[in-house]
Structures are given as structure tokens and as C-alpha cells.
């Protein structure tokens, strides 16, 4: 398939996932900070921005919303990620189901009407729209190579965001609300509670790392990324071992993990690097930007 199409599908998946993940995170941080306007509010803001690799110049709930919602120029913010969704979709619209493209445009309208003063409602609207887009893609997009790139991007981003969330250690700042907030930030509270285990920080961390049933756990997202990558390699007849190595290794570490907190921290820290290596590997193998022509004699 067209390299450009593959790359845009990949980033479409990543940015869709990113805008969703960041929106959930912001909703929950906003809920926490708004009720708790004590001295550590600045620290709470810093936890989120630092964890997301954003500049840390927010000091209250409102400025935090401004920074994390961000603008089109910064793809590490919600608005920027949504812009990434739309521009990638736009450049490959001929290959996308028209319903999907329509849903992306609706998403864009929701983004334009964002209200900083009342972010809960606006973010809810964006999350609803994102769910529609995801749903339409799953209903209508053919399971072709592009969809594997989409799926790969989506799951790599998922791993990245979940590991960032875990690294923030919200439960240390808000002991009571921390574990529930961490789960809500990935939409996993109900699923976790269904397993009938006590809601404690350790259990929540273990759940988000290794639960085999929850689609956003590092282990499950890693498995999905791996299988998408295998499909891509198979279709292209490309050797897959070196590309699979980073998340494969991470996956086996998670598989054999025990409850040692240090080991969990190691996994959490290693995840963004594994994601980045995978990203670089597929870029080198499949995406051929202008200027990457290899001359032979």
C-alpha cells in the first residue's frame, strides 16, 4: 500500500487514542483539583503536565485546563491531537468510510466550541464524539493493511498513556480518591470493581499493568499491538523479529511480573521507550518520507 496512507492511518490511530486518553485524564484531574484547592494544587497540576511532557506553568484548575487542552500547534495536547486526527484523516479521506470522515468533522466542531470555564461538559462532548468515530471505524473500515496500522498506532498510544498515568502516582497525592481516579482516567473503574478486589493503589497498578481482560492494560494493549504488527509484517513479507522485539520483551516481562513494587515501576518506566522504539522501527521499515530514496548502482 501507499506509504503515506500507512503512515497517516498509524497516526490517525495514535491521535484518536491520545485525544481520548488526554480528555479522560483532564476530566478526572479537574474533578480532583476543583474540590481540593489547598496548597498542593500547584503540585497536582505539575503532576499532570510533567507526566505528559508539557510545560508546567499551570497553578490552578483553570490554567491546567488551558495547558492540557492546548492548541493546534502542539500535538501533545488535546486540541493538538484532535488537529492531528483531522489532518491525517483529511489527507487520506479517499480511503476512509464517509461516515467516519463525517464523524471526524463533527469532532472538530466540538473541539472548536470548547469552553475552558466549564471543561467537564466540553470534554464529555469530545469523548462522545470520539466514541462515535472509533465505533464507525470498527463497523465499517475493512480489515486491510491500513486498519492494522491504525490498530497498531492506537494500541501503542494506549500503552504510552497508561504508563504515563501510572507514573504520576496520583494515589500518593490524593490517598482516598487516587485509586478510583486513576481507573476513571482510563475508563476502567467498573471493570476493575467487577473483579471484586479491594480498591487499593497496588491492586490498581497491577490491574492496569497485567490484567488480561481489560483492553487498556499494558499487557492487553501490548498483545494487540504485537498482533497488528505481525499482520503488517506478514502482508509485506518483512522480517518481523527486530520490530517486535521491544514490545515483545516488555510483554514477557509483564507476563512474569510479581507484585514487587520496584519491578512494576521498572515496567512503567520502560513502556514509553518500548513504544518509541517500535514506532521508530515501523517508520524505518514502512514509511518512506520524501528524501528517503535509496540509490542503487
Amino acid at each position: 500500500m501507499l506509504s503515506r496512507l500507512a503512515e497517516s492511518s498509524f497516526w490517525l490511530g495514535r491521535y484518536l487514542e491520545r485525544s481520548e486518553g488526554l480528555s479522560r485524564l483532564l476530566v478526572e484531574f479537574h474533578q480532583l483539583l476543583i474540590q481540593d484547592q489547598r496548597s498542593h494544587i500547584a503540585r497536582g497540576c505539575a503532576l499532570l503536565t510533567h507526566g505528559l511532557g508539557l510545560e508546567t506553568n499551570s497553578f490552578n484548575a483553570r490554567t491546567l485546563v488551558e495547558v492540557v487542552y492546548g492548541d493546534e500547534s502542539n500535538p501533545s495536547t488535546i486540541r493538538g491531537a484532535l488537529h492531528g486526527v483531522r489532518s491525517n484523516a483529511r489527507s487520506i479521506r479517499d480511503t476512509l468510510p464517509s461516515d467516519f470522515y463525517e464523524s471526524i468533522n463533527r469532532l472538530n466542531v466540538a473541539a472548536e466550541n470548547f469552553d475552558v470555564a466549564s471543561p467537564g461538559r466540553s470534554l464529555k462532548e469530545i469523548l462522545d464524539r470520539l466514541a462515535v468515530s472509533h465505533g464507525i471505524y470498527e463497523w465499517l473500515a475493512p480489515s486491510d493493511e491500513a486498519s492494522h496500522f491504525f490498530e497498531l498506532g492506537r494500541n501503542l498510544e494506549r500503552m504510552d498513556l497508561v504508563s504515563r498515568l501510572l507514573a504520576m502516582e496520583i494515589e500518593k497525592e490524593w490517598r482516598e480518591q487516587g485509586p478510583a481516579t486513576t481507573l476513571r482516567a482510563v475508563g476502567g473503574l467498573s471493570t476493575f470493581l467487577r473483579a471484586r478486589v479491594p480498591l487499593s493503589a497496588d491492586r490498581v497498578r497491577a490491574f492496569l499493568i497485567k490484567d488480561a481482560a481489560f483492553p487498556r492494560s499494558l499487557s492487553e494493549a501490548g498483545r494487540r499491538a504485537e498482533s497488528a504488527l505481525k499482520e503488517i509484517a506478514k502482508i509485506n513479507g518483512a522480517p518481523s523479529e527486530s520490530m517486535l522485539r521491544p514490545i515483545g520483551l516488555l510483554g514477557s516481562q509483564i507476563h512474569f511480573i510479581n507484585d514487587d513494587p520496584d519491578e512494576m515501576v521498572r515496567i512503567i518506566t520502560a513502556t514509553p521507550h518500548a513504544v518509541e522504539s517500535t514506532s521508530l522501527a515501523i517508520k524505518a521499515n514502512f514509511f518512506r518520507p520524501v528524501g528517503s530514496i535509496v540509490w542503487s548502482n
Partner: protein, 533 residues
Amino acid sequence: MKATAFLNPLDEYLIDGAPRPELAHLWQTIASVGRAGFISHAKQRDLYLSMQGITFTLSGVERPLPVDLIPRIIEVQEWQHLEAGIKQRITALEAFLDDVYGEQHLFRDHIVPQSLIQSSEHYHRAAHGIKPSNGVHIHVAGVDLIRDQHGTLRVLEDNLRSPSGVSYVMENRRTMAHVVPELFNGYSIRSVDEYPKRLIAALIAAAPAGVSHPNIVVLTPGVFNSAHFEHAFLARRMGVELVEGRDLYCRNNKVFMRTTQGSEEIHVIYRRIDDDFLDPVHFKPDSLLGIPGVLNAARANNVSIANGVGNGVADDKALYSYVPKLIEYYLNEKAILPNVDTYDLRNDDVLHDVLSRLDELVIKPVAGSGGYGITIGPTATKEQLAIVADEIILNPRGWIAQPLIALSTIPTIQDDGSLSPRHVDLRPFAVNDGKEVWVLPGGLTRVALVEGNVVVNSSQGGGSKDTWVLADETIDEKEEVDPPEQDLQSDPLTREIVPQEIGPEVLPPSRMRQQEEQQQQQQLDAPLVVKHA
């Protein structure tokens, strides 16, 4: 005539039209939101509540429990007083229940007449001698408080059977933060999120002796019950199964749940159905909601029932007036929270006095709950009063009389976005795990949405308010001095910043310009050329 027109209710926000000092900041924010602001916020709130399914079923119709957007604020000191009062009360009532369903010292010491207890419709012989494994009868209590015209908080009612409303306390807070985040500016409020954790801990502690990993369920009457949302909410937040009576059965004095993998033994039942329906073997034989034999299983200490069977005797409206005496008897302390004066109509002199001035009193049926059957003297017609008088004479034990109290008011948003004072009460929730009575910081503030109305019950169409217990800044400072085992190395903020990956720019401006420059045939913005024939 309005019920309280002749009394001067205390407003919790305003004194002579000016806000109390601690509310000045909030009052300013409220003013800046303005009428139009509140009208639009109210629409968002309704939408949010319906979408979230946060509902209360009233006369068979599922509707959102309206949460008014103006919060109630309780200051640190008042909360401490209230918390101590509730703990004291629940501790004394626990001792009372233990005594009444046990050795009955209180009759020998003539604290409460035996006839009063035995004539209570909630006193169940069937519960006699059931010893809860950790001694707790009142796992959850919801104590209704009102503030009188002098500002004193008084206990109006102890709800010790299945008090409902706690789910709305938690959801109200999320709704407020969602809909009117600006109101929170400048206030630190204690979290209400801890409740499910406390409740499950209390239920685990209540498990029969020797069971280390108890199987716990929430027993609901089903989806048609007014509080079904709450039952589902609690089961979900505690991570336990929500069951109906038909999901359970008893065999050999043990309770089992029907599952796809066969029978699973149940150790603790947090039931939200009334005693009368709980066990057709002992109570209503035609109950379809209960589990035949469950009471025998409890007596055999194979299952714990929360709240305890027969708790109703302790929140009987006729026993209510004895509670201060019970506190003195069991705890040797003076009651911290006063009662509302209550007339015991079994005494002939009192009865005559009450009958002679029914038009200034509030008459309540002892058996009633949910605000049904209450007659408010000053607003009742002569015919209504005559009917009530007849019923009282017929059955004095069935009624109590109380002086009319002007419930305090709090400004409340009206349909046109304006503010108007409405009467409120407060129901804080307490959880007892056998070691400690814990009180959820906050509680359900119920508000009568109709002007002048003093009946606030949700089942009478009342609404609610988010209740903010302000955080104790002094405690917070202590935490600052002694940070929770955080060494610098493990501080997330000292770790390296990992930037997020960024994809290539798909539509760079340079490319965009060149793409735009390409001529397209029949461009839409080309001038329309009209050809002349």
C-alpha cells in the same frame, strides 16, 4: 397560609440580606454567574443527570433527583460538633439494640416502658437472640437533622433500617464539578468518595466468625424500587454482586447464590429490602422479594444481615423521645445533639393538651416514613384536623406530635434563574464497622422545592443540594510537615520528562500553498462569465 409564615426561619446564607463572612466569596461568584447563567447551567445539569442515569423513581416514573446548584456549606467546627453528636447517638442506639434483643436490662432499670417496645411494629421477636458476629446492628445510619430558628441543629429522626441517599451525595459532587466548576473557586472541600470503601470494610468486618474472605452481596427489591439506582451504584462501587431475592436460596441454614458454576455460599447480605419482606418463613409469607430461611441462617451465624433485623425498633418515632435518656443510660453522657420536643400521646394529660392545640403542631404517624401521612397543623383545614383527632384518640400509640419548627432556608435556584429561600434538612451518613463509627463528611441536604413547603422527602418531590464540609486547614498543615513517606527519588516530579511522540506534519503550510495554487477546472470561485448570444 404558608406553614412557617408566623415563624422566622434562619437563612444559612444571608443575615439581613448580606452573606455570612465565610460565604462572601461564593456569593460573589453566584452573582457573577447570574440568572441567565443558572438557567443554562440547569439545563446542562438535567441533561447530565439523565444521561448518567442518576435517577429516583417517584410513583413509578424514573426521573433525575434534582440537585440544586447552590451548595450548602458546613464549617469545620460545626461539622466536628455534628460528627461527635452522630457518633454518640449511633453508639448509644447500638447498645440499645443489643440490650433489647438480648438481656433487656433497660426494662429492669425502667428506662423505657416495656409496652412501648413491644407495641412497636418494628420490634421482631424473630430477631431475638441473634448475635451479630462483630456485635453491629447498625452498619449504616442516616440521621436526619434540622436547624431551628435559633440556629441549633436538632435530630429529627434516626434512620437505622435502610437509609437511602448516599449515592446522590457522591453523584451530586461530581455533577456540581461538572456543571458549575466556577462555584468551587476559593474553597477546599472534604471528599465524599470514601464511602464505598468504608461500607465494604464494615461489611467485611461483619462477616461470620472464621470467614476470612467473605462473599458479600447487595440485596435489592429490583429495578422498580425508588432507590434502585443507589443499590446498583453501591454494588458497583464496592465491587460486589447486586442480587434479587430469587438469586439466593437457603439450605442447611446457609445462604447460596445461583451462579453458572453452581452454588456459591454468601456470607454477608447488605439488604435494601424491609424486614417484612426479608424472610417469608418469619414475616410476610407472600413476599416474593425475600429469601425463605435467611433469618435462621443468620441465627446460626452462617450469614450476617446488614442492617440488622429489627433495627426499626430503635428508630421508631415513639422511642425517639427516649433517645437522650438512652444516651445517658448506656454511655453516661449528655446528648450532644438535641431532639425536637416530642409529645408521647399515650399519656392522657399530654394527649388532651395536644388535642386542644392540634392546629399549631405537626402530627406524624409513628409507622410512617417518606413524609407520608404527616399533618401540619397550621396549614390543615378544620376537617383534616378533625379526622386526625379521631385517629389519634383511636390509637394514641400510632401518632406523635411535635411543635412546628421553622426549618432553616438556603437560597435555591428557581426556574427563571433567580434565587429564593427554600427549607432544607440534612442527612449525614454513618458507617459502623464495630470498632469505629465513621461519619461521611457531608451528607444529603434535602430541599423542599415548593415555596414555604417544609416536607423535604425525596418521595414528596423534594430536591437535594451538594453539601460541602470545608476542609480543616490546620490538619492540612500538619500533613505538610510530615509528608507521607515520600523520598525525593520516588517523587514523580523529579523524574526525567518524557516528551510524547509526534507524527510528521501532514499538511505543512508550504505544501498547502503550492497545492492551493494549482488551477482546477471549473473552480467554484472563478468569476461567472455570461456569454452573449
